[in-house]
Amino acid sequence: MTERKTKVVWSIRWIVAVAAVLLTAGAVASVGTVAERNTRRALTAEIETRLLLDARTLALASTGAMLGDYPELTLHPLAKELLARQPELTVIVVADNQGVVQGHPDVRSLGQSYSLPSRLLPIEDARRLARGETLGEDGGTLLAAVPVTHPDGRRLGLAVVGMPRSYLDRVITDARRQQIAVLALFLAAAVAVPLILVSQLLRPIAALRHGIERIGRGELDRPVVLRDRTELGLLAAAINQMALELKRAQADLVERERLAHEMELAQRIQTSLLPKGTTRAGAFVIQGYHRPAAEVGGDYYDVFDRPDGTIGVVVADVAGKGLAGCLVMSMVFSLLRAYRDGIASPSSLLAQVDRRLAETLQPGSFVTLFYGVLDPSAGRITYASAGHNPLLRYRARDRSVALLATRGIPIGAVRGGAIATTLEDRKLDLEPGDVLVQYTDGVNESMNARGEQFGLERLGQTVAAAAGGGASSVIEAVVSAIGGWTDNAPPGDDETLLVIAHETQADANTAAGALSPGDSEELLRQARGQGRTWTLPARMEALEGIGAWLRSCPPAGALSERELALLTTALYEVCANIVEHGYREDPSRSLDLGWVSDGRGETMFLVRDDGAPFAPPAAADLDFGDPGVRSKGRGLGLQIIRRATRQAAYFPGTREGNITVLRFPSPREEAQRGRTP
């Protein structure tokens, strides 16, 4: 179960709306504050001016009446009319010079006395006032008093008009209420307009999101449909373009994977056809090497036993790479396997393969093929070559290298069986130390950085230099030489080698023979590299130190006392033989002991010397039942060596000298250990 976390999504439209509201409110509030201050000042000035004008009008209208005998008869209706017109006025009074009220809206106030309050708070702006006029405030009432004047300038009385201050406040409050209403209207607009606008603008985002989700699911065929003139339209176009390119990349990837799969298949087929390991037959060691190019080539080699005790060897190069080349290769493989036992003559077999392969081979494709039959007991190989590279022969007797070419044309090159007239069986006798190398173009045509081919001459020199070490040495040397030549670049073509070596290994223990002279050299180098060697002079007394040296070797720690005794004796016997017969007890000479471990519990002990090599006697079990054998006591040393070790092999004349390899412990001792734990 996957834990799903709800992700908080911030809506853009609400962010914009809130921002607009805040901005609008701020603007309106600051503008409103300034506006209210100005409004209050203007309204106050206007109302005060109006009050003053009312008083002046009243004074002017009262002049005539005040000159008559009964001014109250005119002034009362005048005041009443003024009140009716401006009900906010709370004071309308016309008084004569004696302070007697002559004009008032209320009849009952006529004849009473009136005087302006003495402590009238004057209003600041006096510039608007004429002489004798008063504008002031008394107990919450604004009062304006203007003298009633005769045309000749005499003062006849006083006209007073007043209104409550609260009227002014009411007017201002009304004005502010209107402002708030406008503000609220703006705020509402500030919320609504962005909401609607953003909603409209963002509507395509849903379409884009669905489109991207479709792409995410791999539906690359449904584009995002969006008619939009804003940047979102561009975005939709970009997404569609991306989907298109994704689809193209996906198709490329599928194609590449298909090719890679095909290559892998071809490589697997090729590898499965190649023989595993090293073939040994009598004194012959046959070993192959194959390194596929990145793009599989059509190389192939095979080694097989024939029913008459001979060994068949094949090296082939199919023109054509990849799966097609590989299929031709497996056809060749199958045809050879089908005919190899029935047809003894290599040239006849190749002609037969040509006949059968021509039925299916595409015109223009062909196969070069070397086929040989090795008779290990006779030391002779019979071979035929269908247009393959010349066979390289190293002869130990005179250390010469020769390239042996034939007239054979490739299989499938010419239709109609013409090949049979060009093929021929060749016979070659192989002497001890001789080496045959068959190879494909990938080897001799491998190029260095300057575009120069490795070439057959260099190949011959390399083989000649390594031939003394046996088949594995030759392969190792050629592979390393090509690696050096190409600076270890990946091969452009398959590299295939097949080496047939007549190895002169004298093996004291015929049952085991898995080592080559080259192996023994390598083991010695290993032991030296790890500091696991000990050099001693060629004196019998010096051999008494073997036991102590063995006890200092870590693998000896795992051995029982019995095993250690046997190992000590076996090593002593080998060394005694060398000191006595190889060096004739010359103390100025020396020999080396060493050990290597294969990491799987098997230890190999090595003895190296450069004394005269000797032929080990026939390795037969001694018959101790024969009293003659018992009294002579001959060959006991070799018996001890044979029985105490898993393998004892003697390699005379390697590049390092004579090397004896002892594998330990022996199966016999392991069985013994199993019985008595």
């Binding site: 036991g547 000590t568 004796t569 016997e573 005694a576 101790f624 009294s631 002579k632 001959r634 018996q639």
Partner: protein, 113 residues
């Protein structure tokens, strides 16, 4: 270094004790000693308990001594061989040809009176 051979006279024969290594270097002395005993017509016990190392020449010597005593109609017994000796004898399956006893006393008892 200890003397490689100790020779003592037992009840029914001569006891020769081999000390140290039994290889090409020490073999001639043992052979000579055994030849002396055979020539004297006595039986022989070879004590191998203190042999640290035996080479093929040592094994050959034991075999030939046994063979010569057999031919001469005398008896030789090999007493309490050390692990190195016993191991090599067993490796070569030589027990049928080398009469072995677990101690000098047992060897004495095995000798004809």
């Amino acid at each position: 270094m200890a003397e490689p051979l100790e020779v003592v006279s037992g009840v029914h024969g001569v006891i020769v004790r081999v000390v140290g290594r039994l290889d090409a270097k020490s073999v001639p002395a043992l052979l000579a000693q055994c030849a002396d005993v055979r020539a004297s017509g006595r039986n022989l016990i070879v004590n191998l308990s203190r042999v640290e190392f035996i080479a093929s020449s040592g094994v050959g010597t034991l075999l030939s001594v046994a063979e010569e005593f057999r031919k001469a109609g005398r008896t030789v017994r090999f007493a309490s061989p050390s692990t190195p000796v016993l191991t090599v004898i067993q490796l070569l399956n030589l027990e049928p040809f080398l009469p072995i006893d677990s101690s000098e006393e047992e060897a004495e008892r095995a000798l004809p009176a």
